[in-house]
């Protein structure tokens, strides 16, 4: 009996300093602030490829710049919204990130409808969200808590329209996917092109997931425009579209093909082969940009993903999304509450592989350079090469 009491006492005596150590360690841990970034991306389903690119970009940023900014540790919690068309899932995931995982800020949303579905939730929960895509014009107006770090349909369409006008193209036929971003892109292009003196002689809207474009392309050939302006949502749909434009030989008919850059996403080029020859596209990024940050980025990207994978602009947008969050922490002095972060994001400016980009303080939309590229063969591979830059384009169309 005595022995066991002694043992107990010894245990207690040993326990006290241990407890003290734990307590102090605990408070030391408590002193390191963390920022939980809730990430919502399409990681499964047809657009899983796109989701993966954004995630790769975010991870690459943390790999290259560490996991801390302004003394705050930045953690990512990633959820899969399974693609567009399941807006209720994205909304629930966002709610769970905020309530369960205590996310301070949300990063993600590839598709406009997904972003739209969470607008009221973000406003009610008072959490900011940095968009890595969601190009629809109305999105930032739906909630004060949206900040767009990606690209807008206006930027992609208007830049192409300007290029067409500058290059003496007089007549254009438009072919866009039949959903809000497509219709928007068509509207912006038409306005800018006709303002420059051009004329849109006809147009059609294609079903969003169509893979057989031949009836539509037939109409294009019959209309005989100088150029075809097209948009479709990427992935296998765009690959099929590009292949079929080659098959129908638009080039032989003298019709130039103008597309928004997501149609000829650099990472999809191997699947398109020579269909991309001479195709003009507009995009906010170009793998062969020679600013030092991009050189570093591409190198690190190849180290992470292998030498044969070309970085997609989506990876850059994911990277920059994280970049803006880090920048916001610096600007807010390490404060992680929603209002400080939101205020810090407005007007934030960072150096990105795409060039210098900034968030407009009024519209919370992205201002950046837009590059016009032409598809051509280089070192035995088909690539898009930049031929013109439209600097500092504002997110909204004028």
């Amino acid at each position: 009996m005595n022995g066991s009491w002694n043992t107990t006492r010894r245990a207690l005596i040993a326990a006290i300093p241990a407890a003290a150590l734990l307590l102090s360690a605990g408070s030391a841990l408590a002193q390191q602030k963390t920022l939980t970034v809730g990430v919502v991306l399409p990681l499964s389903g047809v657009f899983a490829d796109q989701g993966r690119h954004y995630e790769d970009g975010m991870k690459l940023f943390q790999k290259m710049h560490g996991t801390e900014s302004a003394g705050v540790k930045v953690n990512m919690v990633v959820r899969d919204d399974q693609g567009p068309g399941s807006g209720d899932l994205a909304r629930r995931l966002t709610q769970e990130l905020i309530v369960r995982d205590k996310a301070d800020i949300i990063l993600g949303y590839s598709f406009t409808p997904t972003a739209m579905s969470v607008a009221t939730l973000l406003t009610e929960a008072k959490k900011p969200a940095v968009l890595v895509n969601a190009t629809g014009a109305v999105v930032p107006t739906r909630s004060e808590y949206f900040v767009r770090a990606s690209v807008t349909s206006a930027q992609l369409a208007v830049s192409l329209a300007k290029w067409a006008v500058d290059n003496n193209i007089k007549t254009v036929y438009t072919l866009v996917a039949d959903f809000a971003p497509g219709i928007e892109i068509e509207t912006f292009f038409k306005k800018a092109f006709e303002a420059g003196g051009g004329k849109v002689i006809g147009g059609a809207r294609t079903p969003v997931s169509a893979t057989d474009y031949s009836p539509f392309l037939q109409r294009v050939l019959e209309a005989k425009p100088e150029a075809l302006f097209a948009f479709n949502p990427g992935g296998d749909v765009s690959v099929a579209f590009m292949k079929q434009t080659k098959e129908r030989n638009l080039a032989k008919a003298g019709i130039k093909l103008l597309v928004t850059g997501d149609v000829v996403d650099d990472s999809q080029l191997p699947a398109m082969g020579d269909a991309v020859d001479g195709v003009i596209s507009s995009l906010n990024y170009q793998p062969d940009l020679d600013n030092p940050l991009n050189v570093q980025f591409v190198k690190a990207f190849h180290e992470m993903m292998g030498p044969n994978v070309s970085p997609s602009y989506r990876a850059v947008m994911g990277y920059d999304g994280m970049g803006f969050i880090y920048e916001a922490l610096k600007r807010s002095g390490g404060k992680t509450d929603a209002d400080s972060l939101l205020a810090a994001l407005k007007g934030a400016k960072i150096d990105s592989p795409r060039g210098t980009i900034s968030i407009d303080a009024q519209t919370r939309d992205i201002t950046q350079d837009i590059y016009i590229r032409r598809g051509q063969m280089k070192d035995g591979k088909w690539v898009n090469s930049a031929i013109k830059t439209y600097p500092a384009m504002k997110g909204a169309a004028d």
Binding site: S44, G85, E96, T112, P113, S117
Partner: protein, 314 residues
């Protein structure tokens, strides 16, 4: 009135659900979705498990209920219970129109017709984007507080009890229907249609009624989803939702009401848990489970219940 085993299990589930509210406050949104899924699955079980009609397009009614609720909200009718009732009615009406093509033909034909109808509605809703928002969905419609008193909060508390209440009502209603003369007639039709014709039972009329009820109930589930997530999109009419409910009914044991509810809970939870862990493996897992389900545990979860019953199931 004697308490049937199903009712007993229902009470147990209800108690568990109420407890979950306090135990898992971060999961309320997920659980509300599960309740909605259970209502949808029960509606399908009435059709397939009890009446024997296999449909691969049941989500049509779910979607109609959802869109109806959203459209009402857009045009000023925003009180949830009113919208719920009106949406249920809308789905019932559409089901009524479609019964003609569903109660004819053999199983394979019916399968294909329901599949075709499903895609037809999906495409039609896609094309009619002036009405439905097309591929973008409808995110902007009003949802007023329930009875003017309980607004939907973003923590999901109101939605939780709202959907749970509807589930309890549907569960009780299903129990009554399947025990009634109508329910027995349906079972007779499922097991031996010819004989039912021979004894003069109005087979077509019964099937039509079952189809309309199933459609109405699915519409109610759809309306609930629209109201609690404030978003409606084409996938609510889509094949995947129709397939989900076929899978759940099969896993729960066709015709077993508590089995189907439990299967909905398990399915909904696993889908959420596994797809956040790894979506590709979720799909693989579900595929393997489905394949295995035809060899083992053929009566689904209901097979487990039968161990405790001396009941009259086959």
């Amino acid at each position: 009135m004697r308490v049937t085993p199903e009712a007993g299990i229902g009470v147990v589930l209800l108690v568990a659900a109420v407890a979950a509210f306090f135990l898992f406050p971060g999961y309320l949104a997920l659980l509300s979705t599960i309740f909605i899924l259970a209502i949808f699955a029960l509606s399908y079980d009435l059709l397939q498990g009890h009446a024997g009609v296999v449909s691969l397009g049941h989500a049509v009614f779910f979607g109609i209920g959802a869109y109806a609720s959203a459209l009402l909200g857009r045009h000023g009718i925003a009180e949830p219970i009113v919208c719920l009732l009106l949406s249920t009615l809308a789905s019932a009406l559409v089901a009524g129109v479609l019964t003609r093509i569903v109660v004819v033909g053999n199983d394979l034909t019916r399968l294909l017709v329901t599949l075709g109808v499903g895609f037809l509605f999906f495409e039609a809703a896609n094309q009619a984007n002036w009405l439905t928002g097309g591929a973008d969905g409808m995110p902007d419609f009003e949802v007023a507080p329930i009875l003017g008193l309980f607004p939907f909060d973003f923590l999901g508390r109101t939605a939780y009890f709202y959907t749970l209440a509807v589930l309890v009502l549907v569960y009780a209603a299903m129990l009554r229907i399947t025990r009634s003369a109508f329910g027995l007639a349906l079972r007779g039709i499922r097991e031996n249609t010819m004989r039912m014709h021979a004894i003069g039972a109005p087979v077509s009329r019964h099937l039509a009624l079952a189809y309309i009820m199933a459609g109405a109930c699915a519409g109610a589930a759809g309306a609930l989803l629209a109201q609690t997530s404030r978003f409606v999109s084409l996938d609510m009419l889509g094949f995947e939702r129709s397939a989900d409910v076929v899978v759940i009914t099969a896993l729960g044991g066709t015709g077993s009401i508590p089995g189907v509810v439990l299967a909905a809970a398990v399915f909904g939870y696993l889908k959420d848990a596994l797809s956040s862990f790894s979506p590709k493996y979720w799909q693989l897992g579900i595929g393997l489970v489905l394949m295995a389900s035809v060899f083992v545990l053929r009566q689904g979860l209901a097979g487990l219940f039968n161990v405790f019953r001396t009941g009259d199931r086959e």
